[in-house]
Protein backbone atom coordinates (compact mmCIF):
# COMPACT_ATOMS: atom_id res chain seq x y z
CA UNK A 1 0.00 0.00 0.00
CA UNK A 2 1.09 3.50 -0.75
CA UNK A 3 -0.60 6.46 0.80
CA UNK A 4 -0.63 9.73 -1.06
CA UNK A 5 -1.02 12.86 0.99
CA UNK A 6 -0.66 16.21 -0.69
CA UNK A 7 1.51 14.83 -3.43
CA UNK A 8 3.79 12.91 -1.10
CA UNK A 9 3.57 9.18 -1.21
CA UNK A 10 4.50 7.09 1.81
CA UNK A 11 4.85 3.36 1.63
CA UNK A 12 2.84 1.47 4.21
CA UNK A 13 4.76 0.46 7.28
CA UNK A 14 3.23 -2.97 7.45
CA UNK A 15 3.09 -4.38 3.96
CA UNK A 16 0.81 -7.25 3.18
CA UNK A 17 2.09 -10.72 2.45
CA UNK A 18 1.35 -10.44 -1.26
CA UNK A 19 3.80 -7.57 -1.56
CA UNK A 20 6.57 -9.68 -0.11
CA UNK A 21 5.57 -12.66 -2.22
CA UNK A 22 5.72 -10.56 -5.39
CA UNK A 23 9.01 -9.11 -4.22
CA UNK A 24 10.54 -12.52 -3.66
CA UNK A 25 9.35 -13.87 -7.02
CA UNK A 26 10.71 -10.79 -8.78
CA UNK A 27 14.00 -11.05 -6.95
CA UNK A 28 14.34 -14.67 -8.05
CA UNK A 29 13.57 -13.72 -11.66
CA UNK A 30 16.01 -10.83 -11.63
CA UNK A 31 18.74 -12.97 -10.11
CA UNK A 32 18.03 -15.74 -12.64
CA UNK A 33 18.22 -13.24 -15.47
CA UNK A 34 21.45 -11.74 -14.20
CA UNK A 35 22.78 -15.26 -13.74
CA UNK A 36 21.90 -16.23 -17.29
CA UNK A 37 23.40 -13.12 -18.84
CA UNK A 38 26.41 -13.40 -16.52
CA UNK A 39 26.91 -17.01 -17.64
CA UNK A 40 26.78 -15.91 -21.27
CA UNK A 41 29.22 -13.12 -20.53
CA UNK A 42 31.55 -15.63 -18.93
CA UNK A 43 31.23 -18.23 -21.67
CA UNK A 44 31.23 -15.65 -24.42
CA UNK A 45 33.49 -16.72 -27.25
CA UNK A 46 33.02 -14.60 -30.31
CA UNK A 47 32.29 -17.14 -32.99
CA UNK A 48 32.12 -15.39 -36.33
CA UNK A 49 28.73 -15.66 -38.03
CA UNK A 50 28.12 -19.00 -39.68
CA UNK A 51 25.26 -19.42 -42.07
CA UNK A 52 23.31 -22.37 -43.27
CA UNK A 53 20.68 -21.97 -45.93
CA UNK A 54 17.78 -24.30 -46.62
CA UNK A 55 15.38 -23.93 -49.52
CA UNK A 56 11.83 -24.17 -48.24
CA UNK A 57 9.65 -23.65 -51.31
CA UNK A 58 9.76 -23.15 -55.07
CA UNK A 59 6.82 -21.52 -56.74
CA UNK A 60 5.97 -20.31 -60.18
CA UNK A 61 5.00 -16.64 -59.92
CA UNK A 62 3.89 -14.11 -62.49
CA UNK A 63 6.85 -13.25 -64.72
CA UNK A 64 9.29 -15.49 -62.93
CA UNK A 65 10.07 -18.13 -60.41
CA UNK A 66 10.34 -17.79 -56.65
CA UNK A 67 12.70 -19.76 -54.45
CA UNK A 68 12.07 -19.26 -50.73
CA UNK A 69 14.68 -20.12 -48.16
CA UNK A 70 15.59 -19.91 -44.48
CA UNK A 71 18.96 -18.61 -43.45
CA UNK A 72 20.17 -19.61 -40.00
CA UNK A 73 23.08 -18.13 -38.11
CA UNK A 74 24.57 -20.70 -35.76
CA UNK A 75 27.13 -18.38 -34.20
CA UNK A 76 26.78 -16.26 -31.08
CA UNK A 77 27.35 -13.06 -33.03
CA UNK A 78 24.76 -11.27 -35.14
CA UNK A 79 25.51 -10.46 -38.76
CA UNK A 80 24.21 -7.35 -40.49
CA UNK A 81 23.67 -6.60 -44.19
CA UNK A 82 23.93 -10.26 -45.12
CA UNK A 83 23.98 -10.59 -48.89
CA UNK A 84 22.64 -13.87 -50.23
CA UNK A 85 23.14 -14.82 -53.86
CA UNK A 86 21.07 -17.36 -55.72
CA UNK A 87 22.39 -18.93 -58.91
CA UNK A 88 20.94 -21.27 -61.48
CA UNK A 89 23.68 -23.59 -62.66
CA UNK A 90 23.56 -25.61 -65.82
CA UNK A 91 26.33 -28.14 -65.76
CA UNK A 92 28.66 -25.80 -63.87
CA UNK A 93 27.84 -22.75 -65.98
CA UNK A 94 25.94 -19.97 -64.30
CA UNK A 95 22.75 -19.22 -66.20
CA UNK A 96 21.21 -16.58 -63.97
CA UNK A 97 21.95 -15.00 -60.61
CA UNK A 98 20.01 -12.77 -58.23
CA UNK A 99 20.88 -11.12 -54.89
CA UNK A 100 18.96 -10.37 -51.75
CA UNK A 101 20.21 -8.57 -48.64
CA UNK A 102 19.07 -9.22 -45.08
CA UNK A 103 19.32 -6.30 -42.64
CA UNK A 104 20.13 -8.70 -39.82
CA UNK A 105 20.53 -12.38 -39.22
CA UNK A 106 20.58 -12.51 -35.40
CA UNK A 107 22.82 -14.84 -33.45
CA UNK A 108 21.49 -18.40 -33.09
CA UNK A 109 18.38 -17.41 -35.00
CA UNK A 110 16.98 -17.65 -38.47
CA UNK A 111 15.48 -15.29 -40.99
CA UNK A 112 13.63 -16.11 -44.16
CA UNK A 113 13.47 -14.56 -47.59
CA UNK A 114 13.10 -15.36 -51.25
CA UNK A 115 14.99 -14.96 -54.50
CA UNK A 116 13.12 -14.23 -57.70
CA UNK A 117 14.50 -15.70 -60.92
CA UNK A 118 13.20 -14.73 -64.32
CA UNK A 119 13.11 -18.36 -65.48
CA UNK A 120 12.10 -21.71 -64.09
CA UNK A 121 15.27 -23.54 -63.02
CA UNK A 122 13.53 -26.83 -63.81
CA UNK A 123 15.94 -29.71 -63.30
CA UNK A 124 18.96 -27.42 -63.20
CA UNK A 125 20.84 -26.90 -59.96
CA UNK A 126 19.91 -23.90 -57.77
CA UNK A 127 22.68 -22.74 -55.50
CA UNK A 128 21.98 -20.23 -52.73
CA UNK A 129 24.78 -18.98 -50.52
CA UNK A 130 25.69 -16.03 -48.35
CA UNK A 131 28.39 -13.94 -49.99
CA UNK A 132 29.10 -11.36 -47.33
CA UNK A 133 28.04 -9.54 -44.18
CA UNK A 134 29.01 -6.67 -41.91
CA UNK A 135 29.23 -6.46 -38.13
CA UNK A 136 26.28 -4.56 -36.73
Amino acid sequence: MTTTAKNRHTEAREPRLIEWATGVVSAILVVAMIGWVGYEAWMDEDMPPEFSIAITARTQVEGGYRVEFDIANKATVTAAAVTVRGEILDGGNMVEDADVTFDYVPAESKSSGAILFSQDPGAREVRIRAVGYTDP
Binding site: T3, R8, E11, E19, G23, S26, M33
Partner: protein, 293 residues
Protein backbone atom coordinates in the same frame (compact mmCIF):
# COMPACT_ATOMS: atom_id res chain seq x y z
CA UNK B 1 -15.75 18.62 -9.03
CA UNK B 2 -17.02 20.95 -6.37
CA UNK B 3 -20.61 20.15 -5.46
CA UNK B 4 -21.67 23.73 -4.73
CA UNK B 5 -20.22 24.91 -8.01
CA UNK B 6 -22.02 22.27 -10.00
CA UNK B 7 -25.40 23.25 -8.69
CA UNK B 8 -24.86 26.83 -9.69
CA UNK B 9 -23.56 25.95 -13.11
CA UNK B 10 -25.85 26.25 -16.06
CA UNK B 11 -25.70 24.10 -19.16
CA UNK B 12 -23.45 26.55 -21.00
CA UNK B 13 -20.79 26.33 -18.32
CA UNK B 14 -21.13 22.59 -18.28
CA UNK B 15 -20.55 22.20 -22.00
CA UNK B 16 -17.77 24.76 -21.96
CA UNK B 17 -15.96 22.72 -19.34
CA UNK B 18 -16.52 19.61 -21.38
CA UNK B 19 -14.99 21.31 -24.40
CA UNK B 20 -12.01 22.43 -22.32
CA UNK B 21 -11.61 18.82 -21.20
CA UNK B 22 -11.72 17.69 -24.82
CA UNK B 23 -9.14 20.32 -25.74
CA UNK B 24 -6.83 19.15 -22.99
CA UNK B 25 -7.26 15.57 -24.12
CA UNK B 26 -6.46 16.53 -27.70
CA UNK B 27 -3.43 18.50 -26.53
CA UNK B 28 -2.26 15.51 -24.50
CA UNK B 29 -2.76 13.13 -27.43
CA UNK B 30 -0.66 15.44 -29.59
CA UNK B 31 2.01 16.13 -26.98
CA UNK B 32 2.53 12.48 -26.10
CA UNK B 33 1.73 11.10 -29.54
CA UNK B 34 3.86 13.29 -31.78
CA UNK B 35 7.15 11.37 -31.37
CA UNK B 36 5.39 8.25 -32.60
CA UNK B 37 3.36 9.97 -35.29
CA UNK B 38 6.65 11.12 -36.79
CA UNK B 39 8.41 7.75 -36.62
CA UNK B 40 8.83 5.99 -39.93
CA UNK B 41 8.95 2.50 -38.44
CA UNK B 42 5.51 2.95 -36.91
CA UNK B 43 4.01 3.90 -40.26
CA UNK B 44 5.52 0.76 -41.75
CA UNK B 45 4.35 -1.33 -38.81
CA UNK B 46 0.89 -0.01 -39.58
CA UNK B 47 0.74 -2.17 -42.67
CA UNK B 48 3.01 -5.08 -41.93
CA UNK B 49 2.16 -5.80 -38.29
CA UNK B 50 0.32 -9.08 -37.98
CA UNK B 51 -3.35 -8.23 -37.76
CA UNK B 52 -4.17 -10.35 -34.75
CA UNK B 53 -1.32 -8.86 -32.76
CA UNK B 54 -2.57 -5.39 -33.61
CA UNK B 55 -6.07 -6.54 -32.68
CA UNK B 56 -4.80 -7.78 -29.32
CA UNK B 57 -3.00 -4.49 -28.66
CA UNK B 58 -6.17 -2.55 -29.45
CA UNK B 59 -8.21 -4.77 -27.12
CA UNK B 60 -5.65 -4.61 -24.29
CA UNK B 61 -5.74 -0.83 -24.55
CA UNK B 62 -9.42 -0.72 -23.51
CA UNK B 63 -9.18 -2.02 -19.90
CA UNK B 64 -5.90 -0.15 -19.59
CA UNK B 65 -7.56 3.15 -20.45
CA UNK B 66 -10.53 2.47 -18.19
CA UNK B 67 -8.29 1.65 -15.22
CA UNK B 68 -6.12 4.65 -15.96
CA UNK B 69 -9.14 6.93 -16.26
CA UNK B 70 -10.46 5.51 -13.03
CA UNK B 71 -7.13 6.15 -11.34
CA UNK B 72 -6.76 9.66 -12.69
CA UNK B 73 -10.39 10.44 -12.09
CA UNK B 74 -10.52 8.55 -8.81
CA UNK B 75 -8.97 11.31 -6.78
CA UNK B 76 -11.44 13.73 -8.34
CA UNK B 77 -14.40 11.65 -7.18
CA UNK B 78 -15.35 10.00 -10.44
CA UNK B 79 -17.40 6.84 -10.74
CA UNK B 80 -16.76 3.73 -12.79
CA UNK B 81 -19.24 4.96 -15.39
CA UNK B 82 -17.36 8.22 -15.70
CA UNK B 83 -14.08 6.34 -16.02
CA UNK B 84 -15.62 4.31 -18.82
CA UNK B 85 -16.82 7.48 -20.53
CA UNK B 86 -13.43 9.18 -20.15
CA UNK B 87 -11.65 6.13 -21.54
CA UNK B 88 -13.97 6.03 -24.56
CA UNK B 89 -13.45 9.72 -25.22
CA UNK B 90 -9.68 9.33 -24.87
CA UNK B 91 -9.63 6.43 -27.33
CA UNK B 92 -11.79 8.40 -29.75
CA UNK B 93 -9.57 11.46 -29.41
CA UNK B 94 -6.52 9.29 -30.00
CA UNK B 95 -8.01 7.99 -33.24
CA UNK B 96 -9.13 11.43 -34.45
CA UNK B 97 -5.86 13.18 -33.61
CA UNK B 98 -3.74 10.39 -35.10
CA UNK B 99 -5.68 10.37 -38.36
CA UNK B 100 -5.67 14.16 -38.60
CA UNK B 101 -1.91 14.40 -38.08
CA UNK B 102 -1.10 11.47 -40.36
CA UNK B 103 -3.22 13.07 -43.10
CA UNK B 104 -1.55 16.43 -42.50
CA UNK B 105 1.91 14.87 -42.72
CA UNK B 106 0.99 13.28 -46.03
CA UNK B 107 1.41 9.81 -44.63
CA UNK B 108 -2.16 8.89 -45.44
CA UNK B 109 -3.32 9.60 -48.96
CA UNK B 110 -6.63 8.77 -50.61
CA UNK B 111 -5.16 6.28 -53.09
CA UNK B 112 -3.84 4.02 -50.31
CA UNK B 113 -5.56 0.74 -49.55
CA UNK B 114 -8.06 1.04 -46.74
CA UNK B 115 -6.35 -1.61 -44.64
CA UNK B 116 -3.07 0.35 -44.70
CA UNK B 117 -4.76 3.56 -43.52
CA UNK B 118 -6.60 1.67 -40.83
CA UNK B 119 -3.46 -0.08 -39.61
CA UNK B 120 -1.49 3.16 -39.45
CA UNK B 121 -4.19 4.96 -37.50
CA UNK B 122 -4.92 2.02 -35.20
CA UNK B 123 -1.33 1.56 -34.09
CA UNK B 124 -0.92 5.29 -33.41
CA UNK B 125 -4.23 5.55 -31.59
CA UNK B 126 -2.96 3.45 -28.68
CA UNK B 127 -0.20 5.79 -27.43
CA UNK B 128 -2.24 8.84 -28.46
CA UNK B 129 -5.20 7.70 -26.35
CA UNK B 130 -2.96 7.19 -23.30
CA UNK B 131 -1.60 10.68 -24.04
CA UNK B 132 -5.13 12.06 -24.17
CA UNK B 133 -5.85 10.74 -20.69
CA UNK B 134 -2.54 11.96 -19.32
CA UNK B 135 -3.20 15.33 -20.93
CA UNK B 136 -6.42 15.67 -19.02
CA UNK B 137 -4.73 14.89 -15.74
CA UNK B 138 -1.35 16.53 -16.26
CA UNK B 139 -2.43 19.63 -18.13
CA UNK B 140 -4.90 20.65 -15.47
CA UNK B 141 -7.10 17.69 -14.61
CA UNK B 142 -10.70 17.30 -15.55
CA UNK B 143 -11.93 20.00 -13.24
CA UNK B 144 -12.10 23.63 -14.30
CA UNK B 145 -9.67 26.40 -13.50
CA UNK B 146 -11.50 27.47 -10.37
CA UNK B 147 -11.12 24.03 -8.91
CA UNK B 148 -7.41 24.15 -9.58
CA UNK B 149 -7.11 27.19 -7.40
CA UNK B 150 -9.18 25.52 -4.76
CA UNK B 151 -6.86 22.59 -4.85
CA UNK B 152 -3.85 24.75 -4.17
CA UNK B 153 -5.51 26.06 -1.06
CA UNK B 154 -6.19 22.50 -0.04
CA UNK B 155 -9.95 23.00 0.09
CA UNK B 156 -10.82 21.53 -3.32
CA UNK B 157 -12.48 18.32 -4.17
CA UNK B 158 -9.25 16.39 -4.01
CA UNK B 159 -9.15 14.33 -0.88
CA UNK B 160 -6.04 15.08 1.10
CA UNK B 161 -5.14 11.48 1.33
CA UNK B 162 -5.68 8.62 -1.05
CA UNK B 163 -4.45 5.11 -0.84
CA UNK B 164 -3.06 3.25 -3.78
CA UNK B 165 -3.34 -0.49 -3.56
CA UNK B 166 -0.33 -2.61 -4.38
CA UNK B 167 -1.86 -3.99 -7.55
CA UNK B 168 -2.70 -0.53 -8.76
CA UNK B 169 0.82 0.64 -8.05
CA UNK B 170 2.16 -2.15 -10.28
CA UNK B 171 -0.47 -1.27 -12.88
CA UNK B 172 0.71 2.34 -12.96
CA UNK B 173 4.26 1.15 -13.50
CA UNK B 174 3.03 -1.03 -16.36
CA UNK B 175 1.34 1.96 -18.00
CA UNK B 176 4.47 4.08 -17.66
CA UNK B 177 6.64 1.31 -19.07
CA UNK B 178 4.22 0.62 -21.92
CA UNK B 179 4.08 4.25 -22.86
CA UNK B 180 7.83 4.77 -23.09
CA UNK B 181 8.24 1.36 -24.74
CA UNK B 182 5.79 2.21 -27.49
CA UNK B 183 7.88 5.32 -28.11
CA UNK B 184 11.14 3.51 -28.67
CA UNK B 185 10.31 -0.13 -29.45
CA UNK B 186 9.33 0.30 -33.10
CA UNK B 187 12.66 1.85 -34.05
CA UNK B 188 15.35 -0.36 -35.49
CA UNK B 189 17.80 1.03 -32.97
CA UNK B 190 16.47 -1.20 -30.21
CA UNK B 191 17.43 -4.43 -31.93
CA UNK B 192 20.59 -2.87 -33.33
CA UNK B 193 21.65 -1.92 -29.80
CA UNK B 194 20.82 -5.42 -28.60
CA UNK B 195 23.05 -6.87 -31.35
CA UNK B 196 25.88 -4.49 -30.58
CA UNK B 197 25.84 -5.12 -26.84
CA UNK B 198 27.89 -7.86 -25.28
CA UNK B 199 26.46 -9.73 -22.27
CA UNK B 200 28.64 -7.50 -20.09
CA UNK B 201 26.88 -4.42 -21.40
CA UNK B 202 23.57 -6.13 -20.70
CA UNK B 203 24.55 -6.84 -17.11
CA UNK B 204 25.43 -3.20 -16.53
CA UNK B 205 22.19 -2.08 -18.20
CA UNK B 206 20.10 -4.30 -15.94
CA UNK B 207 21.76 -3.11 -12.77
CA UNK B 208 21.57 0.51 -13.94
CA UNK B 209 17.86 0.17 -14.80
CA UNK B 210 17.06 -1.15 -11.35
CA UNK B 211 19.20 1.47 -9.62
CA UNK B 212 17.67 4.30 -11.65
CA UNK B 213 14.18 3.03 -10.90
CA UNK B 214 14.86 2.98 -7.20
CA UNK B 215 16.64 6.32 -7.22
CA UNK B 216 13.92 8.02 -9.25
CA UNK B 217 11.21 7.13 -6.80
CA UNK B 218 12.95 7.24 -3.44
CA UNK B 219 16.17 9.19 -3.59
CA UNK B 220 15.85 12.11 -5.97
CA UNK B 221 13.37 14.48 -4.38
CA UNK B 222 11.00 15.02 -7.27
CA UNK B 223 7.50 16.29 -6.76
CA UNK B 224 5.45 13.25 -5.88
CA UNK B 225 8.42 11.36 -4.52
CA UNK B 226 7.80 8.45 -2.20
CA UNK B 227 8.80 8.49 1.44
CA UNK B 228 10.02 5.43 3.22
CA UNK B 229 8.53 5.32 6.71
CA UNK B 230 10.98 5.76 9.56
CA UNK B 231 12.53 2.59 10.82
CA UNK B 232 12.05 0.66 7.59
CA UNK B 233 15.27 -0.45 5.98
CA UNK B 234 15.67 0.67 2.36
CA UNK B 235 15.73 -2.86 1.05
CA UNK B 236 12.13 -3.41 2.18
CA UNK B 237 10.76 -1.10 -0.47
CA UNK B 238 13.47 -2.25 -2.86
CA UNK B 239 12.09 -5.79 -2.73
CA UNK B 240 8.43 -4.84 -2.57
CA UNK B 241 8.35 -2.14 -5.23
CA UNK B 242 11.51 -1.72 -7.26
CA UNK B 243 12.21 -5.33 -8.20
CA UNK B 244 8.57 -6.17 -9.04
CA UNK B 245 8.50 -2.89 -10.97
CA UNK B 246 11.50 -3.97 -13.00
CA UNK B 247 9.84 -7.30 -13.72
CA UNK B 248 6.74 -5.45 -14.87
CA UNK B 249 8.92 -3.35 -17.17
CA UNK B 250 10.55 -6.54 -18.52
CA UNK B 251 7.20 -8.20 -19.18
CA UNK B 252 5.84 -5.11 -20.93
CA UNK B 253 9.04 -4.93 -23.00
CA UNK B 254 8.63 -8.55 -24.09
CA UNK B 255 4.98 -7.94 -24.92
CA UNK B 256 5.74 -4.85 -27.00
CA UNK B 257 8.64 -6.55 -28.80
CA UNK B 258 6.41 -9.51 -29.56
CA UNK B 259 3.64 -7.24 -30.80
CA UNK B 260 6.03 -5.56 -33.21
CA UNK B 261 7.32 -8.95 -34.37
CA UNK B 262 10.82 -8.42 -33.04
CA UNK B 263 10.98 -11.78 -31.29
CA UNK B 264 10.04 -14.01 -34.22
CA UNK B 265 12.50 -16.81 -34.95
CA UNK B 266 14.94 -15.35 -32.45
CA UNK B 267 17.02 -17.28 -29.97
CA UNK B 268 16.00 -16.88 -26.30
CA UNK B 269 19.30 -15.18 -25.48
CA UNK B 270 18.68 -12.57 -28.18
CA UNK B 271 15.09 -12.05 -26.98
CA UNK B 272 16.41 -11.42 -23.49
CA UNK B 273 18.97 -8.95 -24.81
CA UNK B 274 16.38 -6.85 -26.66
CA UNK B 275 14.06 -7.03 -23.65
CA UNK B 276 16.86 -5.76 -21.40
CA UNK B 277 17.54 -2.90 -23.80
CA UNK B 278 13.86 -1.98 -24.00
CA UNK B 279 13.31 -2.40 -20.26
CA UNK B 280 15.79 0.42 -19.68
CA UNK B 281 13.45 3.14 -20.99
CA UNK B 282 10.60 1.03 -19.62
CA UNK B 283 12.04 1.21 -16.10
CA UNK B 284 12.39 4.96 -16.35
CA UNK B 285 8.80 5.21 -17.60
CA UNK B 286 7.57 2.97 -14.79
CA UNK B 287 9.35 5.03 -12.15
CA UNK B 288 8.09 8.28 -13.66
CA UNK B 289 4.53 6.94 -13.68
CA UNK B 290 4.72 6.29 -9.94
CA UNK B 291 5.73 9.90 -9.41
CA UNK B 292 3.35 11.55 -11.84
CA UNK B 293 0.16 9.54 -11.54
Amino acid sequence: MNGVMTERDDDAGESRRFLIGLGRGAAGAMLFGIPMLMTMELWQLGFYIERWRLFLLLIVNIPLLILLAHRIGFERTSTAAEAFRDATIAYGLGIVISSAILVMLGDIKPHMPFSEMLGKIAIQAVPASIGALLGRSQLGGQAGQDDDEDRKEGGGAVPDEISTSYGRELFLMAVGALFLNLNVAPTEEIILIAYKMTPWHALVTMVASIAIMHGFVYAVAFKGTHDIPEGTPWWHVFFRFTLPGYMVAMLISLYVLWTFGRLDDTAPAEMLMSAIVLAFPGAIGAAAARLIL
